[in-house]
Amino acid sequence: MGAVFTEFPWGVILILLPVTGGILCFLWPQIAKITGLFIVFVVALLVVGLAWQIFNNGVYRHAVGGWGAPLGVDLYADGLSLLMLAITALVGMGVSVYSAAYFKHEQAAQFWPLWLLLLAALNALFLSADIFNVYVTFELMGLAAVALVALAGSREALGAAMRYLLAALLGSLAYLLGVALLYHGFGTVDIALLVERAEPSPVIWAALGLMGAGLLLKTALFPLHFWLPPAHASAPTPVSALLSALVVKASFYILLRLWLEIFDPLVGGAGVEQLLGLLGAAAILWGSVQALRQTRLKLLIAYSTVAQVGYLFLAFPLVAAAGVSAWSAVTYLVLSHALAKAAMFMAAGNLLCFGGHDRITDLDRVVQRLPLTAAAFALAGVSIMGLPPSGGFIGKWLLLEAALMQGRWDLVAVMILGGLLAAGYIFKVLGYAFTQADISHESKAVPASMEWTALLLACGAILLGFLAVPVLSLVGIGDPFGIGEVRP
């Protein structure tokens, strides 16, 4: 029995199953909702299986086609990939339940196949050990995401989807050129083999520049964030949640992997980390200030994503003296932001659905009568602000610890200021939850499942604040951050 569990190829099924689901949903739109929900829940179970396997056997490796690198493509999963898969499954379940009530009729028929293929792309991305394969999954993810944004159908959404598509394609091409140089420089596209073969050379620098720029564009790090706010704000709500919670993190994950495995050992300490940290700091301040200035709720949340992405990059310059804290912080921030931001977008979607608009100043009519939604927004906000007890707090604590260990007062100041600004924009919204307003008539009922999923995800973000020890020990499997070998 145990052997079946530990030998079963969970990882591969994680990719193939959603693809199958996407095809089924496309063929028979009538049963798309049921099929979609079923597949997503099975995927979550598969992730549990994979976790069991990794926990018992250590890292997971699957040589597709039986060839093995460098000739074939490898799948690879360690603690970090597992955690990304898990958060994808978790947020994915939430979004699916939410979407089941959100999308109706024709839109539902279009949503489910696109979403399942996006899920396949995300899973494939987190499992990939091959940089060209990553390119293909990027395209899969990008096209699915763009098509999902365009589902909203409004003029803003179409413009935003177009801008998003152009940015995604540009990012992919820059990334692909980097892949081309690495392949021709070192004769392989397998990450592990590249680590063995790569040596400091112009090729490494050019590849870092190209792939880095492409990935930063996809991750929307300031000042390459221009495409994100319109796309995330004008997409249908479940899609906004997916994009902010997962898709942005996917490109960040690849960037992190490549940096940790390939580039850091070769060019670490040459100022690239500092540049990333600087951009991250700028992103925090710029994104937060912009969020504070928005008059529409979904744009506010979208700019908050720009700011939160900045926190992830603050870790890069802090690794030298405090590797454990900095990378644990990144993991934690990624996880808690995924949950909190998904919950926040869903809450915003409920308000939008209920009141028919998302103008912040007119929210008083709405927020009061959706207490669950208001609670979801507030709890998610606690995590985004980094207040205890929440996952966001743990992340911020670790990051602060790293910054203080290294004496980086500038970054400490940025983090504190970012937290204060975040409190500013979140309470700008929450303040309306308590104002007395006359009952308005033009409102639509919000399905209970949409309110509860938002609340549950938000509770997840809070709960994450108490799970640091098991989560961080899980991430350590396979030593993705190279902490085992202490750098001088």
């Binding site: 098509a147 365009a150 394609l169 091409l173 081309a180 021709h184």
Partner: protein
């Protein structure tokens, strides 16, 4: 300079031309063309450098990658063109709305 490097340089040139056009042109059809030319540049680098095998047949792996890339490119182009038409039908323009007009 060998054939491989000559064409590889042409590839980087195409990439640069496409990138420049993507940035300065506002019309979406032009931007889509620019991305296609950038793509061709990248493919050119991939295939050209595969021919550094002397007289032996060139490395087939980049060739396969490029064929994959071409199919991906045409998929993306088709989606982009449809988006452009839809946007054009809704707004009467085939440019992106300016950021400042928000």
């Amino acid at each position: 300079m060998s054939t491989a490097f000559l064409y590889a340089l042409v590839g980087t040139g195409l990439f640069a031309l496409g990138l420049y056009a993507l940035i300065v042109h506002a019309h979406l059809l032009r931007k889509i063309l620019a991305l296609n030319i950038m793509g061709s540049g990248v493919f050119m680098v991939l295939v050209a450098l595969a021919k550094r095998t002397g007289d032996a047949p060139p490395d087939a792996v980049p060739h396969a990658m490029v064929i994959t890339g071409i199919v991906v490119a045409v998929s993306a182009t088709a989606l982009a063109l449809t988006l452009m038409l839809k946007l054009n039908a809704k707004s009467g323009h085939a440019e992106l709305p300016d950021d400042r007009r928000e």
